[in-house]
């Protein structure tokens, strides 16, 4: 019951739905960046929705199976291959003992979720199997996969239908430009009205520095700050605050130049102002953004954020129903 890593891809890690409850000690929630895709992959192979899967970015791994299993790959359009033969994404397919699961070039999106029936068996750390590489915590030995690693699998619970597939209209990838709905707030008042306008009107693009901690954007106008005498302890730059907690999805703009949206492996706090927060319903989309993707931040209010959240949970229910 194992999978051998022949080649690890760029940054492939074990992830589940994360480790809430320790953010006040600097340990982030972690888990799949695109949680909807992660749940869908598990459902396709008959796992519980929060079973541990492999999250892979831009370039898939090569995995040799030492036992028969069902596999599904969701999220990015990262076409799977079994011993070189193409398989569909968002669809369950069998892999036999001795066969190799590989991947073709990425066609759309950024992160693929590879669910294997049973789920990846690594020790639970603070109630989660997710990898937090910065803290060397969880997953496979606290780090991304390397060639030669052997991953054990948990016993499959059954209920798997070969060829089961998520209908096209229930799959989600960002459009172009990507739209990230944002609730302004926290230190929104620190920037001038014209900068507030520019932030939402400008076209940004994903910078190369984009990972599980945060996504950086560039290309918009530099933000101007409302003048003030910096409060004691805040530091001298107008973008500095007395170090505080950072919400998941919060948008920082160090020096007013390049916004950073914090994601599942967020640093839990620091000394940069935040101008608002991407709403929970759009967090999954960020994990599917490639560098250079044009992106707009779209201003919304709380009511819209809650409606979008409800839409998201209807979508998940529709996926469950389609497979049930």
């Amino acid at each position: 019951m194992a999978v051998k890593v022949i080649s690890p891809g760029l940054a492939t890690s074990v992830q589940d739905l994360g480790r809430p409850g320790y953010y006040h000690l600097g340990i982030p929630i972690s888990g799949g960046m695109d949680r909807l895709a992660l749940r869908a992959a598990n459902l396709l192979v008959g796992n519980v929705e929060g079973a541990a899967v492999l999250e892979t970015v831009f370039m898939g791994p090569e995995l040799e199976f030492t036992s028969d299993a069902m596999v599904a790959v969701t999220g990015a359009e990262l076409p799977p291959k079994v011993d070189g033969d193409a398989r569909a994404t968002w669809t369950a397919f069998p892999v036999k003992s001795g066969q190799v699961l590989g991947f073709d070039y990425l066609k759309a999106g950024a992160r693929g979720y590879i669910a294997i029936s049973g789920g990846i068996d690594v020790p639970l750390k603070l109630n989660s199997r997710s990898t937090y590489p910065l803290g060397g915590l969880g997953g496979f030995e606290g780090r991304n996969l390397q060639a030669g690693d052997e991953l054990r699998l948990r016993s499959a619970t059954g209920g798997v239908k070969e060829g089961a597939s998520i209908p096209q209209d229930l799959r989600r990838l960002p459009g172009s430009p990507a739209e990230l709905r944002t609730l302004p707030g926290i230190y929104w008042h620190r920037i001038t009205e014209s900068s507030q306008r520019n932030f939402f009107e400008d076209m940004w693009e994903v910078a190369p520095e984009a990972d599980r901690i945060g996504y950086r954007f560039r290309g918009g106008q530099v933000l101007e700050f409302v003048e003030r005498e910096q409060p004691f302890g805040a530091g001298s730059d107008p973008s500095n605050i007395v170090d505080g907690c950072y919400p998941y999805g919060s948008i920082h703009v160090p020096g007013g130049t390049e916004p950073i949206v914090l994601h599942r492996d967020a640093v839990s706090g620091g000394g940069y102002f935040m101008l608002g927060t991407v709403i929970s319903a759009d967090m999954d989309l960020i994990g599917q953004l490639q560098p250079h993707t044009p992106t707009k931040f779209v201003e919304v209010d709380m009511q819209t954020a809650l409606e979008a959240r409800a839409d998201r949970s209807h979508l998940l229910n529709a996926i469950r129903k389609a497979l049930g």
């Binding site: 953010y23 609730l183 409060p231 007395v242 640093v267 935040m274 991407v278 954020a305 809650l306």
Partner: protein, 291 residues
């Protein structure tokens, strides 16, 4: 101090107790944190105290954001009337200042620093008006520190020195963050000290290093077996300066898993502290040393 509330998306409420740092703002944020924790509000998933603020994460499918906000506001009144007393512990942290490892690292990143011609210690001593690095180090370890926040990365304590504002050290962060910082570096940025719990990026000035691990994800170190993170907000820290010989000795003790930090329980009173800061700190130190 005027408390300000703001939503961080649909899952967080950010509570700024004060724009500027002070012992009062820290105590109020800690006392609100305790109040929120003790209220056991259904739907709350994370309660994170910070230096002069706090953040509550909640599930809006369980509790409506406006209801969450109303509860927090009602708890603020209780937090204000609470006595500023805290049952906590004082911990001794051995500190090797001006060590070769942080010095080697700061030299590698000199072009990112305000003063490329000197060291971080020389820069910090000068801009804070100290005549020498030695005097600056003496002030640094002379008075204890409150752990006012734990975070950034796993287990990293932010610390605020327990002295009058006029004696607070203030330094800017690096112009551009370093891509490397040795594990257990003792750093400083704004008005906060920190101990880097893991090796990695960082923007704080680097003054020294401690042999004492403060984070162990494998939970093998004797005093981190129960939980992998050592510090909690509200802990009091006293640095004890050590030299190279003692650093090497303590590192050996850590590696043999024989090292345990010196810790003593204390009750801290904000009023008594303000009455006689140096006298109160001296008493805390005596408690730590068991005399």
């Amino acid at each position: 101090m005027k408390t300000r509330y703001s939503f961080g998306g649909d899952e967080h409420i950010f509570v700024e107790v004060d724009e500027e740092m002070s012992m009062e703002a820290f105590f109020k944020s800690l006392s609100m944190t305790t109040a929120v924790r003790e209220s056991k509000i259904n739907g709350v998933t994370e309660i994170c105290p910070a230096n002069a603020s706090l953040q509550v994460k909640f599930d809006p499918d369980v509790i409506k954001p406006d209801d969450m906000l109303a509860i927090l506001k009602s708890l603020e009144a209780n937090a204000e009337s609470a006595d500023a007393e805290l049952d906590t512990r004082i911990v001794e942290v051995p500190a090797y200042f001006n060590d070769p490892w942080t010095r080697e690292t700061l030299m590698r990143f000199r072009e990112r620093h305000q003063d490329p011609s000197g060291t971080d210690l020389e820069f910090a001593a000068r801009i804070n008006g100290y005549g020498s690095v030695e005097e600056f180090i003496a002030a640094y370890h002379g008075s204890p520190w409150f752990v006012s926040m734990v975070g950034f990365v796993a287990g990293l304590p932010f610390m605020y020195q327990m002295v009058e504002r006029e004696r607070q050290i203030e330094v800017p962060k690096y112009l551009r963050p370093r891509t490397d910082t040795p594990k257990q570096t003792i750093g400083y940025g704004g008005c906060f000290a920190c101990i880097y719990s893991v090796r990695g990026a960082g923007g704080y000035q680097m003054f020294g290093i401690t042999p004492m691990p403060i984070y162990d994800p494998n939970q093998e170190i004797s005093y981190l077996r129960d939980f992998m993170v050592f510090f909690n907000p509200g802990d009091i820290v006293k640095f004890r300066p050590i030299d190279r010989a003692e650093y090497d000795h303590l590192l050996g003790e850590v590696e043999a898993n024989r090292f345990t930090p010196k810790i003593h329980d204390v009750t801290f009173s904000l009023a008594e502290f303000h009455n006689d800061i140096d006298g109160y700190n001296h008493k805390l130190e005596e408690t730590l040393n068991g005399s």
